[in-house]
Amino acid sequence: MSPRRILEEAQAKNLDIIALTDHNTALNCPTLLSLAKNTNIVVFPGLEITSREEVHILALFEHLEEALDMGQWIYPSLTEFPYDAEKYGDQVYVDENEVILGEVSVYLGQACSYTLEEIVDTIHQHNGLAIPSHIDRPGSGLLDNLGFLLPQEKTRFDAIELSRYYWLSPFPIPNKEDYPCLSSSDAHFPEAIGTLVSTIDTEEKSWQGFCKALHERQIKAGIFPSNI
């Protein structure tokens, strides 16, 4: 899924804000940000980090440099082992014309060696938002792997992300009300982009507007656009 393709799909789906959060890397963000400059779409650079506990957590940033720095912090904590691109898929990063700029040789689907707490701290040091992904989902979600969601003052998560499973069949989650809730498509292929979204009530389509809306809970999650 190249940055160009992502942007085309987001435009076709009339999205206002998107985030690019590849597993454990931000190396495709520079190209997407540069392509998006000439559009109405705001792109947040980021990563979806897999913690030592094998919990997925979104790291979203305002600036490209912060996301790339975060990627550089994660990279040495991944284990090197022979990577078979045929089996696991290509791990390339590309330019605006989809020309391959490089390939990551460490398998990006693995867990890094940092704990959730260390990851949250480091995201915050880089001025980012720390949001555990699809916390309700079986496999790699916070509730499945850790068994519980602690109150916000203990976790310092800025929000939680709920997946389509939750919105299709909600169930009680202790301490959920402590957090702003987001939902997004977690798209792994272009057609999935925009199949689940959140809407925010903000005067400003920007990072600041997004952060303010999260803080003030002016956000509505769990919207399946095809059903509207």
Binding site: R52, E53, T115, L146, F148
Partner: protein
């Protein structure tokens, strides 16, 4: 069998300096803490590779007598600290979960 007896017999490393030496009556093997919460029995030794402090919270919740970390995984300092705070014995082995489970089962059912 007490935790110390179990550890000594099976050559498990005891990580804590002090802990409550309770009875181990059974074992439970899992790397998903939600599964441990739902299915582990009180008095079990929890056999897992989840070497982080959340495992201590879940083990305490289900009343486990000890945690056994497999594959000689590195144990972070805050996990040891959390185990000490709960007086929960924290053990380690170079065996994998399958091998460790077999050894524990054999000795508890001897």
């Amino acid at each position: 069998m007490t935790v110390t007896e179990l550890a000594k017999t099976l050559n498990f490393e005891i990580i804590n300096t002090s802990y409550a030496d309770g009875e181990v009556t059974t074992g439970y093997t899992s790397d998903l803490l939600s599964d441990v919460m739902a299915n582990a029995d009180e008095g079990c030794v929890l056999i897992t590779i989840q070497a982080h402090k959340n495992t201590i919270a879940v083990a305490t919740m289900v009343g486990a007598s000890a945690i056994l970390i497999c594959n000689h995984r590195e144990i972070p300092e805050d996990m040891v600290q959390a185990a000490d705070n709960e007086s929960l014995p924290l053990l380690r082995t170079s065996l994998n979960q399958y091998q460790a489970s077999y050894q524990v089962h054999k000795i508890l059912n001897a």
